[in-house]
Each structure stands twice: as structure tokens, then as C-alpha cells.
């Protein structure tokens, strides 16, 4: 059976093509000059440059974290180019009509049509290609509702007071090694502001694409939901198949003011490397939200199927009383992929609640770790957490690991932790096959069943996509 499972694990990465466009790429290496050039290219104000330089100086003194359950050769930060943009006449495209048709075609191939006539119904998209945002759809419709949805570069120019107030307010520059690096060199990303008492009229979405060779992608996303507002945001990502490892170090900050509700969903499908573990994206991401006001809510949902290495802990700081934090995660590793992912729920306010549901699926020779922290501060009377952490193993050459940390300083808190480990058993497969269902379909059905609690948290269209993505990612996992 394990031979068959090994055969089924082999799969095709469908987003692995390269777009041939002319681009402008900085020579590899990082120093103050590079930071200045990036800032200048973006026509940033002086305060932004200073902020970057401060981050850069802090980064230089920081050490690469080594505590994660990950093994990889050291990343050579001098071999990476920190900025690459599709070549254009001046500052980049003013509208989608000016965007290189090759790029538009790339997004179309990925199922993200950006053009007016083919836009995704009900979803506004900001598309980021290598280091720059190349266009945002439905901007005008959103503006009518008072919603700001644009690239972070535009926001720095057009909404400096919001950026100065919130950028780095959740993830400070020196938060960790990769966040500091991002703060110094971030090139683009999305900015969202939802005004008071506004329900964002459509789903917002950013689609990240790394194309250029030897280029890192460092995007920065900031979402601010003002009092009583509501927004659902989706993030997707892919990259071409390259033999070299590529670095992706993003920072996402969410701010939910009183009674605000942010739902952030990710379907991460960066190139995972080939079946021998060659190539693939190193994904070192810092995602954190703060429930700043009372009764606010932040919910992270992630489906992680890509990347050679994933290092990512979308977290919630529950500062406001009665605020709610949620983390729903499916992390599938196959081949030689390694994932160390989980969450942190920091309970500061009274009657704060958090829910963690983590589903790890390991196949091939992959290693999949859940790492989670639940911290209850002395002030957080009535805090509650429920953690459920399930691992599913396919085949006998992979690993699943769980590292739960609980720090409780309030005797009033109620904490629950459940964990299970199971295998896709030969008996389950035989039951399916005896009922006429072929093996591949059976594995995908079993895995989808295992992930059901998380998938039901995804927006509808995405849930279907996620199911299909799992199917593709498992192709060849038995067979």
C-alpha cells in the first residue's frame, strides 16, 4: 500500500509557468542604499524612508530564528534581489489598460481576470506581481461605500495619516527577524480601510504572484476596520517552478476597533518544490491582528498547500473586552515540504474568547508541525479558549508534530485542548474501493472530510477552490 500511496502523492503544480516580460530588478544584496532606492522608486515621503531605515538598522542586529521545527540551508540574504517590477514607462501603470498584456494574461491563467469585462463577480482584487501592485478592481464601487482598497504604496502617498497611525502598530519593526526585513524593504501589498459602521459591500482579495528569478517578495498588508465595520478579505498566492529557493517574507497587520469584524482567509499555493525537494518558496510570514475595541472579532482562516517551507503564525491580540479571536487552519505538506505553523491568542481583555482549529495533513516525506500559544493575562477575567489540533498522516514516511504552549495567569480562565493523530487507513481506503470509489477519489474524500470544520469557515467560492486544491496537491498521494 505504501508504494501506491507514494505514487499518488506525486503531483503537478499547475501555477508553475513563467511570464516573459521585461522587468527592472535591483542587483542582489541589501544595504542602506537599497532601502533608499526602493523608497525613492515609490516616491515615498521622508518619514517612510526613515521608518524603513530604522527597521533596516534593527534587522542588521537581529539573529535568524532557529526554534522552528524546520531544516533548510541558511538563506543567503546577499543573493536576493529586493526589488523587481515589470518595466513600464514611468511610475507604473495608471490603469489596467496600461498593464503589460502578458501580465494580465498571467492572472487570467491563474483564474484571476482583472479586466473590466471579466472581473470576478462580487470580489474586488488587488493583484501584486513581484514587487508591485499592478491593479485593483472595483475601486470606484468601493469608494462609494467609503471603503479604501488600494496598494500600500498608494496609501502611503494618499493616506499618510492612516499609515503613520497604524503601520507597525500591530507588528512593530523589530518584532522578529523577518518582520524587520519586511519593514525595511517591503515593496507593495494592500491597504484596506473600512469606515465606521460600514459593511464592506464585497469580498476584498489580493493575489500575489512571484515571477522573477532570485527575487524575494516582501509585501505588506494593512487592514483597518473602524468601529462597527465589517470586512471579509481573501489572499491567494502562486509562483513559477524554479530550481532555486525563493524567499517570501510578508507582514500582515489587522486592526479591529470596537464592534468591528475582520475575516481574513488565505489560500496559499506557493511553489512547493519538485518531488526531490528541489526549489520552492521559503515562506516566512508574520500575520497578526489586534482586537483593539470591545466586542471586536478577528478570524483567520488559512489553507496552506504550497511552499517548500512555511513559518507562519497568524495571531490575535484580544485587547478589547468581549473580543473574539479565531484561527482555522488546514496545512497540507507533501513531497519534502516542511511546515511549522499555528497561532498565538493573547487574551488581555475581560471575557475574551478564542477558538483554534488546526488540521495538519502530512504526506510523502514531509514534516508538518502545529505550534500554538494561548496566553491569558492576569486581567483577562472570564477568558476562554478552545483548541483542537488534529493531524492526519498519509503513508509512513512523513511526520506530524504538535507544540502547544499555554500560559495562564488568571485562575478564572477556561482552557480546553484536544489533539488527535490519525492515518488514512488501509481499512478506510478498502471500504471506499469496495464501494466502487477509486483510490484517488477516496483519499481526497477522506482528507476533505478531515478538513470540513475549516472549509466551512471559508467564503463559499473559496471553499470549493480549496477542496479542489487539496485534490490537486494530493494527486499521486495514493494510486
Amino acid at each position: 500500500m505504501s508504494d501506491e500511496i507514494n505514487a499518488l502523492i506525486r503531483r503537478e503544480y499547475e501555477a508553475g509557468f513563467v511570464t516573459n516580460i521585461e522587468s527592472e530588478t535591483l542587483p542582489p544584496g541589501l544595504n542602506e542604499e537599497v532601502v533608499r532606492v526602493i523608497s525613492a522608486k515609490k516616491n515615498e515621503p521622508e518619514w517612510m524612508l526613515e521608518w524603513r531605515l530604522e527597521a533596516y538598522r534593527k534587522w542588521r542586529e537581529m539573529e535568524i530564528p532557529t526554534w522552528a521545527h524546520l531544516k533548510h540551508p541558511p538563506v543567503d540574504f546577499d543573493a536576493i534581489s529586493y526589488y523587481s517590477s515589470p518595466k513600464s514607462k514611468n511610475d507604473g501603470p495608471k490603469s489596467l489598460d496600461e498593464v503589460d498584456p502578458e501580465i494580465l494574461e498571467t492572472f487570467e491563467k491563474l483564474g484571476i481576470p482583472l479586466h473590466e469585462r471579466a472581473k470576478l463577480a462580487g470580489v474586488a482584487v488587488d493583484a501584486v506581481f513581484d514587487s508591485v501592485s499592478i491593479g485593483t478592481t472595483f475601486k470606484d464601487d468601493l469608494a462609494k461605500a467609503g471603503v479604501i482598497f488600494c496598494s500600500i504604496s498608494e496609501a502611503i502617498r494618499d493616506y499618510p495619516e492612516l499609515i503613520q497611525k497604524y503601520l507597525g502598530s500591530v507588528v512593530p519593526q523589530q518584532d522578529n527577524f523577518y518582520a524587520a526585513l519586511n519593514s525595511a524593504v517591503f515593496s507593495d501589498g494592500s491597504f484596506v480601510y473600512i469606515p465606521k459602521n460600514t459593511r464592506c459591500p464585497m469580498e476584498l482579495s489580493t493575489y500575489f504572484r512571484i515571477n522573477e528569478l532570485n527575487t524575494g517578495q516582501f509585501e505588506r498588508t494593512l487592514i483597518v476596520a473602524d468601529e462597527g465595520s465589517q470586512v471579509s478579505y481573501l489572499e491567494g498566492c502562486t509562483a513559477p517552478m524554479r530550481d532555486e529557493n525563493q524567499l517570501h517574507a510578508a507582514v500582515v497587520e489587522l486592526v479591529a476597533l470596537g464592534n468591528a469584524d475582520i475575516k481574513y482567509s488565505t489560500v496559499q499555493n506557493w511553489y512547493p518544490g519538485d518531488e526531490n525537494g528541489k526549489g520552492g518558496i521559503y515562506n516566512f510570514v508574520t500575520k497578526r491582528g489586534v482586537c483593539d475595541g470591545a466586542n471586536s472579532k478577528i478570524s483567520w482562516t488559512q489553507v496552506e498547500t504550497g511552499s517548500a517551507i512555511t513559518w507562519k503564525y497568524p495571531s490575535v491580540i484580544l485587547r478589547g473586552d468581549n473580543s473574539i479571536g479565531e484561527f482555522y487552519s488546514v496545512a497540507l505538506t507533501n513531497g519534502y515540504q516542511q511546515a511549522d505553523t499555528g497561532t498565538k491568542m493573547i487574551h488581555l481583555g475581560k471575557n475574551t474568547k478564542s477558538t483554534i482549529v488546526s488540521k495538519g495533513i502530512s504526506a510523502g516525506r514531509s514534516q508538518n508541525a502545529y505550534r500554538g500559544l494561548v496566553r491569558i493575562s492576569p486581567r483577562a477575567d472570564g477568558a476562554r479558549n478552545h483548541t483542537q489540533c488534529d493531524s492526519l498522516l498519509i503513508g509512513d514516511q512523513c511526520g506530524a508534530h504538535t507544540f502547544p504552549y499555554i500560559e495562564n495567569k488568571n485562575p478564572d480562565a477556561i482552557l480546553e485542548h484536544e489533539a488527535t493523530t490519525s492515518k488514512v487507513s488501509d481499512d478506510q481506503l478498502f471500504l471506499c474501493r469496495q464501494r466502487g470509489i477509486d483510490e484517488e477519489k477516496a483519499v481526497s474524500m477522506i482528507v476533505n472530510g478531515f478538513c470540513k470544520e475549516v472549509f466551512k469557515e471559508l467564503p463559499m467560492e473559496f471553499a470549493v477552490e480549496a477542496g479542489k486544491l487539496l485534490e490537486v496537491s494530493l494527486e499521486g498521494a495514493v494510486g
Binding site: L431, R433, Q434, G449
Partner: protein, 250 residues
């Protein structure tokens, strides 16, 4: 009775890790017949059912099996299922999170496709499944639960019969369907089976106790011991066995 056999087992030898479990079994099953396989624990009766269904824990090292005139061992387990072999499991496994409905639909779709029939649309399938549930005294909510997830022993066995009813097999292998059932549950399961009996459909009923055969009345009874059929007869053989115990034939 000159109909062509549905299943023809000849001198079947099968082993697990080099240990012989079936040691030259021959058995002919014609359409519409019900054969009971009885025997003490470890006699190989469950192995026979599992080998026919294609579980790969067993190695077939001798003999032949033809099903509908074709070599059964040429077929993968899912192909055997689509061709009409159904195994009602002794210990049905759970598939958490996969709803019974979703599982049944996938299964029925696969079998219907093989037969050249159209897929049933969801409402039609739901209606059909609910009707069968009713016959087996299962509540409709039963279909929404995960496959065998948290089912009682009786529910698991009735779920097997439900699947059998939906798949309409030509040969049903019942592997100790009576084990773990109280008398009421046993009756419901047996009624479910009897409702499916017809002149084209055959059954091989594997059981340790003759009690099941009071409800599912066989045409033939075979007694298995040490991997061989040591005695064959009609219905009365089961009664005789009950009276005298397995030591009688060993």
C-alpha cells in the same frame, strides 16, 4: 438448476504472511442462491469473503475464481464492486467528516457510471436514500452523519445493508452481519437482506451462529474448518451443527 454459475471458486488457496488460511476451497454459486458459510473462529470464513472482495492483506497462491465468467483476480477491488460484488463488513470503519450521504452518492455514482447509467441528481438520490432508510428503520438524519462516525453496532450493520440496497449488487457477501447485534437489530438487518433477495441476486452469508439463518434462510450450508470445506448440505446442516457443536465435524 442449469443456470450458468455467477461465481465459481476452484481449489482456492490463500495465505497471510506465508500462513495458509484457505486451503483449496471450491464453491459454485448460481444466480439467486443463498449460501451460508459456517465454521469455528479461525476457520477462514471471513478470509474467503475478503479475498473475493479483493482486500490486499491476503495473497492468493493457488486456484481460480471466475465471476460472471471472467477471472476475478484480474480486477481491482473497485472494479469488482462496480461489477456487482458487495461486501458487508464485519467491522465497518469510520470516515470522520465525510457525510454518509456524500459517501453513498459517490459510491452509487461510480457503480452507475460503470453500468452505463446516468448519475442520479441530488434530489432523486436523496429521495431514494431516504426510502431505503425508512425500510431499515433509520432516521433521515442518519444520512447527514459522518460515515459510521459514532454509530452504534446496530447502526453500522444497518448502514451496510443500506449501501447494499442502493448499490443493487449481483453477489452480496455478508461477513458476520449478526455479530454484535441484539435480536431486534438482527431482525431488522435480516428483513433488509430478505427484501433484496431475488432470482438474479446471490448471497454468501458468513456466520458463526446458526441464529442468523433462522431469518436469512439459506439454500446451501457449507462448513469450513482449517481452510477447507469439510461438509456441505442444505438448511438442516446448520441446525445439526447447532445441536452438536463444531467439534462434531472436526
Amino acid at each position: 438448476m442449469s443456470a450458468t454459475p455467477l461465481l465459481e471458486v476452484k481449489d482456492l488457496v490463500a495465505e497471510v504472511d506465508g500462513k495458509t488460511i484457505l486451503d483449496g476451497i471450491s464453491l459454485t454459486v448460481k444466480p439467486g442462491e443463498v449460501h451460508a458459510i459456517m465454521g469455528p473462529n479461525g476457520s477462514g470464513k471471513s478470509t474467503l469473503a475478503n479475498v473475493l472482495a479483493g482486500r490486499d492483506d491476503y495473497q492468493v497462491v493457488g486456484g481460480s475464481v471466475t465471476f460472471k465468467g471472467n477471472d476475478l483476480f484480474e480486477l481491482e477491488p473497485e472494479e469488482r464492486a462496480r461489477e456487482g460484488i458487495f461486501l458487508a463488513f464485519q467491522y465497518p470503519v469510520e470516515i470522520p467528516g465525510v457525510s454518509n450521504m456524500q459517501f453513498l452518492k459517490a459510491s452509487v455514482d461510480a457503480v452507475r457510471k460503470h453500468r452505463g447509467q446516468d448519475e442520479l441528481d441530488a434530489p432523486a438520490f436523496m429521495k431514494l436514500a431516504r426510502e431505503h432508510c425508512k425500510e431499515l428503520k433509520l432516521k433521515p438524519e442518519f444520512l447527514k452523519r459522518g460515515v459510521n462516525e459514532g454509530f452504534s453496532g446496530g447502526e453500522k450493520k444497518r448502514n451496510e445493508i443500506l449501501q447494499m440496497a442502493l448499490l443493487e449488487p449481483s453477489l452480496a457477501l455478508l461477513d458476520e452481519t449478526d455479530s454484535g447485534l441484539d435480536i431486534d437489530a438482527l431482525q431488522v438487518a435480516a428483513e433488509g437482506v430478505n427484501a433484496l433477495r431475488n432470482e438474479a441476486r446471490s448471497f454468501i452469508v458468513v456466520t458463526h451462529y446458526q441464529r442468523l439463518l433462522n431469518y436469512i434462510v439459506p439454500d446451501y450450508v457449507h462448513v469450513l474448518a482449517g481452510g477447507k470445506i469439510v461438509k456441505s448440505g442444505g438448511r438442516e446442516l446448520a441446525l445439526e451443527l447447532e445441536e452438536k457443536g463444531y467439534s462434531w465435524i472436526q
